[in-house]
């Protein structure tokens, strides 16, 4: 794409071009970042709207329907409202850390998107250590919550931060161990290549790619990863971190206005990130599930590989997030920790062994 834009920009700037040339890579990177961030933030806004609608329907309510047609302008009204709300700095709080908290929550939630491929070649930084980067940057998010809870110098945020730190690091272990099996069968840490590895196999050859993706041979790991993803983002039924009936809103109690909005944005951006990562690791990213249907005239185009499948898979996983929020009651904290440490960790360790032995035998499906 750069090849198309570059001559146009050169012509537009004319004599000014030599002055711009040294910083062009930076400008071009910023343009691409804006192209990633604006749809992402729009998705975040409409995910909150969709969540309220879906949960409304599931509880036989209407959901927001007053602002704009079908309530479609509701998230924009919410955002504007938060913008004009007073930003409070409690007397007891540590002011510097109090501001640092929300910044540390949102920055990694956005920066993680740097390595996410949306379609072949549609990636900001196609790095070989993509999985490592994702794991590292998503670990930083927990610091935002801990810093916020500590800086608030108030009891509920403190409890929220304690719970968040233990819960998020516990599920990070099961997420990481679950990913090991994906890496074993993909033979790469590069996210584009991990998707590419899922396009091979017996079923993919027949045009039935959906059975060649990692979710089927690694089904227990897919379940572990998805459930850990819900726990990692502190969503219901694992939302004891902000459990409103016990500790009001956890680490966010003392925040207001835009400072609160940052935590809110980070939570939803993280949900979308987890759905993108699950699609890439287990559901074949942008690969089409039924490639053989491409031969049908007209509608066949929809069954070719492309970004639309990535978007569809992410939307399906996000719907799953909302669905379980409307369905399940909140877990008790000791149950959450038991699930993470006493069920998921042994399960993932055993499955690493199973996949290892499977790949050693002649029965291996990953050649």
């Amino acid at each position: 794409m750069e090849a198309i834009v570059l001559p146009f920009v050169e012509g537009l700037l004319g004599p000014l071009w030599p002055a711009v040339k040294p910083v062009w890579p930076l400008v071009w990177t910023l343009v691409k970042i804006v192209l990633i961030l604006s749809p992402l933030l729009l998705s975040v806004a409409y995910l909150t709207f969709w969540e309220r609608k879906v949960i409304g329907w599931m509880q036989v309510r209407i959901g927001p329907n007053r602002v704009g047609p079908w309530g479609l302008l509701q998230p924009i009204a919410d955002g504007l409202k938060l913008f004009f709300k007073e930003v409070l700095f409690p007397t007891a709080a540590d002011k510097k850390l109090f501001v640092l908290g929300p910044v540390m929550a949102i920055a990694p939630a956005l920066a993680a998107w740097a390595v996410i491929p949306f379609s072949p070649g549609w990636v900001l930084a196609n790095v070989d250590a993509g999985v490592l980067y994702l794991l590292a940057i998503s670990s930083v998010g927990v610091y935002g919550i801990i810093v916020a809870g500590w800086a608030s110098n108030s009891k509920y945020p403190f409890f929220g931060a304690m719970r968040a730190s233990a819960q998020m690091i516990s599920y990070e272990v099961s997420m990481g161990l679950g990913l090991i099996t994906v890496l074993m069968v993909s033979n790469s840490l590069n996210l584009t290549e991990i998707v590419g590895a899922q396009s091979k196999g017996q079923f993919a050859g027949w045009g039935l790619g959906v059975f060649s993706w990692n979710w089927l041979p690694l089904l227990p790991m897919f379940a572990v990863y998805l459930i850990s993803g819900v726990a990692e983002t502190n969503r219901a039924p694992f939302d004891v971190v902000e459990g409103e009936s016990e500790i009001v809103a956890g680490h966010m109690v003392e925040y207001s206005g835009m400072a609160f909005a940052m935590f809110f944005l980070a939570e939803y951006a993280n949900m979308i990130l987890i759905s993108a990562m699950t699609s890439i690791f287990f559901l074949g990213g942008w690969l089409s599930p039924f490639g053989f249907l491409q031969q049908i005239p007209l509608v066949g185009v929809a069954f070719s590989n492309g970004f639309h499948w990535m978007a569809f898979k992410m939307a399906a996983i996000l719907f799953f997030f909302l669905w379980i929020r409307a369905t399940f009651p909140r877990y008790r904290y000791d149950q959450i920790m038991r699930l993470g440490w006493k069920v998921f960790v042994p399960l993932t360790l055993v499955w690493i062994l199973v996949v290892g032995v499977w790949m050693m035998t002649p029965l291996t499906i990953w050649k």
């Binding site: 890579p25 930076l26 990177t29 910023l30 970042i33 961030l37 913008f83 004009f84 007073e86 930003v87 409070l88 700095f89 409690p90 007397t91 007891a92 501001v99 929300p102 540390m104 920055a107 990694p108 956005l110 920066a111 998107w113 390595v115 900001l124 930084a125 790095v127 999985v131 490592l132 794991l135 110098n153 108030s154 403190f158 730190s165 233990a166 690091i169 990070e172 272990v173 161990l177 090991i180 890496l183 074993m184 033979n187 840490l189 009001v248 003392e254 206005g257 835009m258 400072a259 909005a261 940052m262 904290y333 000791d334 920790m337 440490w341 006493k342 960790v345 360790l349 062994l353 050693m360």
Partner: protein
């Protein structure tokens, strides 16, 4: 090679800016009328009592230590997992590459079982 990582650095900086700018704007644009009640710690309407930074359960600390061990383990497993297919396809190191890593995992499992038996994973 390192050029690939330049956009990531820019993205991290953009992310940080994205966190700071709206808070700054909100602070500048929104009304600012603090009073002592508004700025006191929230405790469901009661006046806050005691210091908020109190003693906490040692189990949170235990979990953090266990996490460091397991996360290190994962960090060691990553490079092995990323080339496992090549290990399997190379006859000379096939068995060695397989067994060696499971000896490594086995040592960690011994510690894990010990932690479980000692009750470090219980939250009753």
């Amino acid at each position: 090679m390192l050029d690939n990582y330049f956009p990531i650095l820019v993205f991290v900086l953009v992310g940080l800016a994205f966190g700071c700018v709206p808070i700054l704007l909100g602070w500048l644009i929104a009304p600012n009328r603090p009073d002592s009640e508004k700025l006191s710690a929230f405790e469901c309407g009661f006046a806050p009592f005691e210091d908020a930074r109190m003693k906490f359960d040692v189990r949170y600390y235990l979990i953090a230590i266990l996490f460091i061990l397991f996360d290190l383990e994962i960090a060691f497993l990553f490079p092995w997992a990323a080339i496992f297919k090549e290990i399997v396809n190379t006859e000379a190191v096939k068995m060695f590459g397989f067994v060696e890593m499971f000896v490594f995992i086995g040592i960690l499992v011994v510690g894990y079982v010990y932690a479980w038996a000692k009750g470090a994973l219980d939250w009753e």
